[in-house]
Structures are given as structure tokens and as C-alpha cells.
């Protein structure tokens, strides 16, 4: 890993950390939903500080350059995250629709009961 890439990893890690902590302070994200980003930020820091770890793994899996390995891992992790987010949003939408429908029907029932 080049010194530039290592520096970028540190910067990326710091920015990620700062962004997420700021949101926690502002009470606009739940702790449960932050864990991923804190771990992600920490992992970036680890590979920047100890480049031997990704280098070893890259060599083990037969990558020509450590940076290729790092990119692939980061992309894969983010794609997986995106996939689970899609599932989560879909589920939330279904639940929301369900609530909207029930609330609307319930309101009508209540109104009829009052009459």
C-alpha cells in the first residue's frame, strides 16, 4: 500500500468517525445504526496503521497489489450494506403502509361509533 493510500485511509476514517459522532450528538441517528460506521472507520484506521495485515491477506489470496485487495473488500462490504438496507427499507415501507391502512379504517370505525 502506498503512503498516499494509507494517508487517505486515515483521512477517510477520521471523516467517517467525525460525521457519525456529530449525528449522535445532534440526536439524529440511533446508536444501533452507528455501530457499522464506527467499526468501518476503525477498520480503515487499522489497515492504514498496520499495512502488513492487508498485505498478508492480499498475498494469501493471490492479489497483485494490496490496494486492489483493499478496494475489493471495501466495495464488497458497502454493497452488502446497501443490499441489507434495501431489505430494511422495503420492510419499513410495508409496515408503514399497514399502519396507514389500519389507522384510516380505525378512524372511520370510531367516527361511526360516535354517531
Amino acid at each position: 500500500m502506498s503512503p498516499t493510500l494509507r494517508a487517505l485511509c486515515v483521512i477517510g476514517s477520521a471523516i467517517t468517525f467525525w460525521l457519525i459522532i456529530r449525528r449522535v450528538k445532534k440526536a439524529s441517528v440511533r446508536i444501533d445504526d452507528c455501530i457499522f460506521w464506527i467499526v468501518f472507520s476503525f477498520a480503515l484506521l487499522v489497515i492504514a496503521v498496520f499495512p502488513d495485515i492487508p498485505a498478508f491477506l492480499a498475498h494469501l489470496f493471490g492479489f497483485m497489489a494490496t490496494s486492489n485487495f483493499v478496494f475489493l473488500v471495501v466495495i464488497t462490504i458497502l454493497l452488502m450494506r446497501e443490499f441489507t438496507n434495501t431489505l430494511k427499507i422495503s420492510k419499513l415501507n410495508s409496515r408503514l403502509d399497514e399502519l396507514i391502512e389500519e389507522q384510516a379504517l380505525q378512524a372511520k370505525e370510531n367516527e361511526q361509533d360516535e354517531r
Binding site: S94, L96, D97, I100, E101, Q103, A104, L105, A107, K108
Partner: protein, 226 residues
Amino acid sequence: MRILAIIPAYNEQDCLEQTIRSLESTCPGIDYLIVNDGSTDDTKQICERNGFSHVNLPVNSGLSVGFQTGMKYADRHGYDAAVQFDADGQHLPEYIIPMGHALEEQQADIVIASRTLAGEAPKGARGTGSRIIAALIRLTSGVRLSDPTSGMRMYSRRMIGEFARGYDLTPEPDTVALLARRGCKVIEVPARMQERQGGESYFDFTHVIAYMSRVCFSILLFQWFR
């Protein structure tokens, strides 16, 4: 036979009153339910002022949610059939009773009001879209539909339960294809329709693309896994 007309309405202040008046005078024996889909205009006030039967969705949620709300209502109040009916005056109430008869006599699950059978096939881009969808449905489920994009459809009691409890069933042609493939009987009756009598259509360019891609993907791919 108790029939419920489900009338989803989103910002339909211009034509809703006229639509309901004509429905009431043409089919006095038919119940209806307006589903006000979080309208930002006077749709809600019009319903309240005139004492129209209606429910209000707390936020705008789209046609599927509005329609499912109506189906849940029909299910819980024991209706024998439910018909999808537009608030904008496109659909003519005089066809509701004949659709009900067709449903009963032919023991069908879904009755579609077909403009094509009445000699007024949709033209232009709409016509092309409609023919593509018809071809896809014939290819995948073997059912021949002359007007799959007609929004005026009547559903049997069994279908009401299906829609009320089902997952992700839109009141669109892809669902008709899915249900047909599962063995539901889909028939068509001839029916004329009018131009919308006021207000604005949901169907701008982005909606058309979204609609066509959903319907096509759903018929060609997803229905085999549902």
C-alpha cells in the same frame, strides 16, 4: 349481491363530486368508499360536506395502499364483490351492474371493463404499452386480455380476501397476470370510458417509465418466484 366501489382519490376536488353524484343516481344500490389518499386540496372537505362515505389516509401513500385499504374495508364488511373505480370520471357507473352479473354468471374472479371490446381501443403510446403488456400476459399465463391496462376491474369475494391480506399486490395488470397464473378466472366485458373530467393524471413521463418497468419485470421475472 353486495358490491363495493372503491374510489381512490388524490387531489380530485374538481371532479369527485360529479363522479359520486352520477354513481349514486345510476347505481343507487351500490355502496362506495372514497379513499382520500392524503390529498392536499379540498377532496376531504368535499367528502365531509356532502356526507360521502370515505376514509382518509393520514399521508399520501399511492394507489396500491389506497386500494388495499378499500379491499380491507370490503373484506371486513362482507362484500361479495369490489370494483376499482376512478374518481376522475373516466369510468362509467352503468357498467358496474353488468360486470357484477358477468362475475356471478361466469363464476369469475376478476372482471375487466374492456375498451377494446367496446370498439374503443386505447390509442397512441398508451395503446402500444397496453398491447405490450397484453402480449406478455398471454406469453406467461396464456390468458388473452384485450385491455389489460383498463383501471376498471371487479373482484370476487375470494379476490377481496387475497388483496386484503396479500403482500405487495398492486391493482395493476401484473397482479392480474399473477392471479390468472394461479388459476383465477379472468374475464372481460365491453365498456366505454370517458376522458378524465378534471384534475391531473398521475401519469407523467417518469411515472410511465416506472409503471412499465414494474409491470414488465413483474410479469416476465418476479411472478415465477412469488
